[in-house]
Amino acid sequence: MSIKKQICVYPFDAQFSPVLRYKELLADLNIVSVVSPPGWGLAGKNAGIADGGGSLDYIVSSDFDAHLERCDSVLYVESINQIDFQSILLPRINRAIDAKKNILCMIPLGEESVAMIQNRCAQSSLLFKNYNKDNDFDYNHGKKAYGRFYINTPVIFVAGLSERAQKFHIQLSLRNNFMKLGYKVSMVGSRKYCEMLGFHSFPEFMFKRDQYESNKVILFNHFIKRIEIDEKPDVMIIGLPGGIDGQNHSARNDFGILSIEIAAAVKPDALVMSLQYNDYSLGYFKQLSDLCKQKFGINIDCFNIANIRTNYENAGLFVHQDYTTLHADFIDRWKYKFKKSDIPLFNMFNTDDAVKMTNCLVNKLSRKNDLGYEIV
C-alpha cells in the first residue's frame, strides 16, 4: 500500500470545496492544510464558509510558507477568484520547490511553465504531476464513425440550469453514496482533473473546434461505450458541463449546446437538475421538467437548489457574472414550503437530502415494470 502524500492546497476557495468535502475520494492524497491569499476573505475562517455548505475540519490560513513545513506536496488548484500567475502563483511554486515539496497541479499551465517546473522538480528529484491536461479519449482519430452504440448500463445525468449550480458537488455525493450502497460506479465528471478522484474527466474533444458537432456526438457515445465495456459498472453518472438554459439574455450558459450534444450521444435513464436559488413557484418546476423532456427525452427526477444566486441586474452583456453565496440552511428553510408537494426538491448540503436523492435514483433505476419482466 503506497503512503499518502501530505498535501497543502493553494489557493483555496469555493471551487475546491466539493473535493474537500469528499476528500476520501482522493485515493493517494491526504489534505493537511488549505491556504488562500489574504484578500479572499477566508483566512482564519472555517473552510466551510467558502461554499456556505457547513463546517469542515479545516481552518483556512493565509500563511503559505508556514504551511509548507507541514506537507510534502503542494496541490495548486483552480479557483473562482482570479489569481495572477506571475506575481502570486509562480513565486509560490518556486518557493515550494525550494522547500523540497512535490508539485501537483490542477490549474492550466502554459508549455513554458510546465517545462520550467518539470526541470526544476527533476533537478531536485521531486514529483511534478499535472492533472490539468488533455485526457483525450484514445480513439482512432482519422476514422469517421457513423453509428451510436446502445448503452446498457443505467445512466444518470447531472445537469445545471446554469453554471455555478453545485453540479460537481452533486456528482461527488452521488458517487460516494452509490459506492457506499455497494454499487460499482463509472463516472464522467464535468471538470478536467477528475482522474485524481478516481473517475473520468469530461473529454477534451467535446470542446475542440476541429470536429464537426455531429461527429462529437458519435465520439462521445463511443467514449461512454468504451468505459462501459472496460469497467462494467452497475451505474454510470455523467456530469454535464456548463448550463442547459439558453433563454437568459444576460447570462452565458453556453446556451445549452453541449447538453444537447450529450443527450444525442447517450440516452439518460435519470436526470438530476440543479438550479441556483431563486424564489421559484411550484409551476416553474413543472415547466422546467417539461423542457427537459423535450431536450433529453426524460423528465427531471431530482431538483437540487444550490445556495448561489446570480444578480442578473449587474450581470450584463459584457460584465462578469455577479453571484451571492447563501447559507445552506437558508435553502432548507425556503424549501420547507414545498414539503407537501410532490416535487422532488433537495439541498445537497443537507446530508439527509443527499442520501434521499441517492435512494430516489436507486428506486427509479431499479423499478421493474408492472409485470416484472426484464430485457435479457
Binding site: 489574504p38 484578500g39 476573505g41 451571492t324 453565496t325
Partner: protein, 476 residues
C-alpha cells in the same frame, strides 16, 4: 359592470401622444383621439357622457385583449433583495469610503459641511490608522463574493492626511493580496505635489478633482479659508502632472459643480479649450438644492443649456458630430441610455416589489466616518442617527439596514399607486428628517421625481422618433 382603471400614465410631446403602461413597462405611441378620451376618463369618469364612456370601455377591453392596460398594483412593498439581505452584507460589500479627516483647507460656498445644509460641519477630527486598518479588514471580511473592491479616501480634504492614506494603501495591498483593489480619492487638488503624484501613479490611485469652471467662476465658490481663490494653485498642480507625470493624467477625472446662475457658455468654453483640463474626463453636478440660499437658474443659463441638449439629441440621431457637443451635457446621454435599458417589457408588476431607487445600504458604497461608524454612502447626513447602519467593530445593524432598504414601506399606498414605480430615484436619504424616517418629507420629492421621469420619457420618445436606436454604443 365597472371596469377597473388601467395603471397607465399619459404624456405628450409636441403633437405626439404617449401612454406608459406600468404593468408592461412599455411606452405606446397612440392617436390623439384615444389619448384625449383616456385623459378625460383617468381624471374623472363621472362627468363623461355615456357614449364617450362606452367608447373608452371598448378601448380598454381591446387593449386588455392585447395584454395592456392592466390595473394590477404591487400587493406588498418589499425590496427583492430583502430575503437575502444578510448574505449580501456578509460577502458582497463592493467598496468603502474612508473619511480620513473632517478638516479642509478650503471653505467652499456650497459645501455640504459648510453649515448651510443639514449635516455635520468642518472640524479638526482625523481618522486614526487603527480605525482605518479595522475598516480595511472589515472590507476584506465582507467581500468574499466580489472579484474586485474599491477603497476611496474622502474628507474634508483627504490630502491633509497623505501619510495616513499611504499607510492604508500599503496595508490594503498586503492584507488583501489576491483581491483586485481600486483606490480612489476625491480632492480639491490644492495640496498636490510631486511626491504625492508620484506615489499615486505608482499605486494606480484614481483621483477626482473639483474644478467649477474658469477662474472667475471657480473662485467665487471654492476659496481657501483665507478667502483667496484656489484656481491658480489647482491649475499649476495639473500642469505639473501633465509635464512630469503625463501617464497619470488618464487616472484623473474632474468633478464640476455648476451653479445655475453662472455662465453656461463660459464654463463650457473653459472645459473645452483650456489646455490643462480639456483632455481630462469630466463629471458634472449641479448645486444641491436645499441650502439656505435657494438656487434658481437664470434664463440665459437655461437657454444655453437647452441649446446644448438639443445638439446632443441631434448627435445621438446621427445628425451632428459629437465634437460640437458641450462636454457638460455629454453625461446626459447615459441617463437616456439607462431609460432605454430599463424599459424592458414585462408581463405585469410582481406581487411583491419595491420602487426602484434604494441601493442595498452597506453593500454598494458604505461610508465610514472617523470613528468607524458606517453610513450607506458619503451623501447622507452623518449627524443623523437614522442613517447610522452599524460600525466596523460590532458589524452591520441589519434591522436598521432593512428599514432603509424598504423605505417604500413608509409611503406604501403612494408608492403602490405611483406610475413611476419602476423609475423612482428616491432612497432613504430623502426621508431623513430629525432623526426619523418621515413619510411627508419623502413624499415632498415625489412630484419632482415624476416630472424628471416624464421628461426622460419625452426625450426618449423624441429621440426614437429621430431614429436613435440606443444600441449604437455597443462595441461588437
Amino acid at each position: 359592470m365597472e371596469l377597473s382603471k388601467p395603471f397607465i400614465h399619459l404624456f405628450k410631446n409636441e403633437e405626439k401622444y404617449y401612454i406608459y403602461d406600468v404593468n408592461k413597462n412599455t411606452i405606446l405611441n397612440v392617436q390623439k383621439y384615444m389619448y384625449e378620451l383616456l385623459d378625460l376618463y383617468m381624471q374623472d369618469e363621472t362627468g363623461l357622457p355615456s357614449d364617450k364612456k362606452s367608447e373608452i370601455i371598448q378601448i380598454i377591453k381591446t387593449m386588455r385583449k392585447d395584454g395592456y392596460f392592466s390595473s394590477q398594483r404591487v400587493m406588498e412593498i418589499i425590496h427583492p433583495e430583502d430575503e437575502i439581505l444578510e448574505f449580501h452584507l456578509e460577502s458582497k460589500v463592493a467598496m468603502i469610503s474612508l473619511q480620513v479627516t473632517q478638516q479642509c483647507n478650503l471653505r467652499c460656498e456650497y459645501c455640504v459641511y459648510s453649515g448651510k445644509y443639514t449635516n455635520r460641519i468642518h472640524s479638526n477630527k482625523i481618522m486614526g490608522f487603527a480605525t482605518a486598518k479595522r475598516a480595511i479588514d472589515f472590507l476584506n471580511e465582507h467581500s468574499r463574493d466580489m472579484p474586485s473592491v474599491g477603497i476611496t479616501f474622502y474628507g474634508g480634504e483627504p490630502l491633509l492626511q497623505f501619510n495616513l492614506i499611504k499607510q492604508c494603501i500599503e496595508y490594503a495591498e498586503k492584507s488583501m493580496e489576491g483581491k483586485h483593489l481600486i483606490f480612489n480619492l476625491t480632492s480639491n487638488a490644492t495640496l498636490l505635489n510631486e511626491e504625492i503624484i508620484s506615489y499615486f501613479e505608482a499605486h494606480h490611485v484614481y483621483m477626482l478633482i473639483s474644478i467649477d469652471g474658469p477662474e472667475n467662476i471657480h473662485d467665487r465658490s471654492r476659496k481657501f479659508a483665507s478667502g483667496q481663490g484656489s484656481f491658480q494653485t489647482i491649475m499649476n498642480n495639473i500642469k505639473t502632472i501633465q509635464e512630469k507625470f503625463p501617464d497619470y493624467q488618464k487616472n484623473l477625472t474632474i468633478n464640476t459643480v455648476i451653479n445655475h446662475n453662472s455662465s453656461f457658455s463660459a464654463i463650457d468654453a473653459f472645459f473645452s479649450n483650456c489646455e490643462q483640463v480639456k483632455d481630462i474626463a469630466l463629471n458634472v453636478q449641479f448645486v444641491k438644492s436645499g441650502s439656505e440660499d435657494n438656487i434658481y437658474a437664470t434664463e440665459k443659463f437655461l437657454a444655453e443649456y437647452n441649446n446644448e441638449m438639443s445638439k446632443l439629441y441631434l448627435s445621438m440621431a446621427g445628425r451632428m458630430e459629437e465634437r460640437f457637443i458641450s462636454k457638460i451635457v455629454k453625461n446626459k446621454k447615459k441617463g437616456l441610455v439607462d431609460v432605454a435599458r430599463k424599459l424592458v417589457p414585462m408581463n405585469c408588476l410582481p406581487e411583491k416589489g419595491h420602487p426602484s431607487g434604494p441601493c442595498i445600504p452597506g453593500v454598494q458604497r458604505p461610508f465610514i466616518d472617523i470613528e468607524g461608524n458606517i453610513f450607506p454612502c458619503e451623501r447622507v447626513n452623518e449627524s443623523s442617527g437614522i442613517m447610522n447602519i452599524g460600525n466596523i467593530y460590532d458589524g452591520f445593524d441589519i434591522n436598521q439596514i432593512r428599514k432603509l432598504l424598504n423605505i417604500g414601506k413608509i409611503s406604501e399606498q403612494q408608492c403602490k399607486n405611483c406610475w413611476a414605480f419602476m423609475f423612482c430615484t428616491l432612497c432613504a436619504a430623502s426621508a431623513d428628517h430629525n432623526n426619523e424616517l418621515c413619510p411627508m418629507k419623502k413624499e415632498s420629492f415625489c412630484n419632482d421625481v415624476r416630472s424628471y421621469v416624464e421628461s426622460l420619457f419625452k426625450d426618449y420618445c423624441a429621440l426614437k422618433e429621430l431614429g436613435v436606436s440606443f444600441e449604437d454604443d455597443i462595441e461588437i
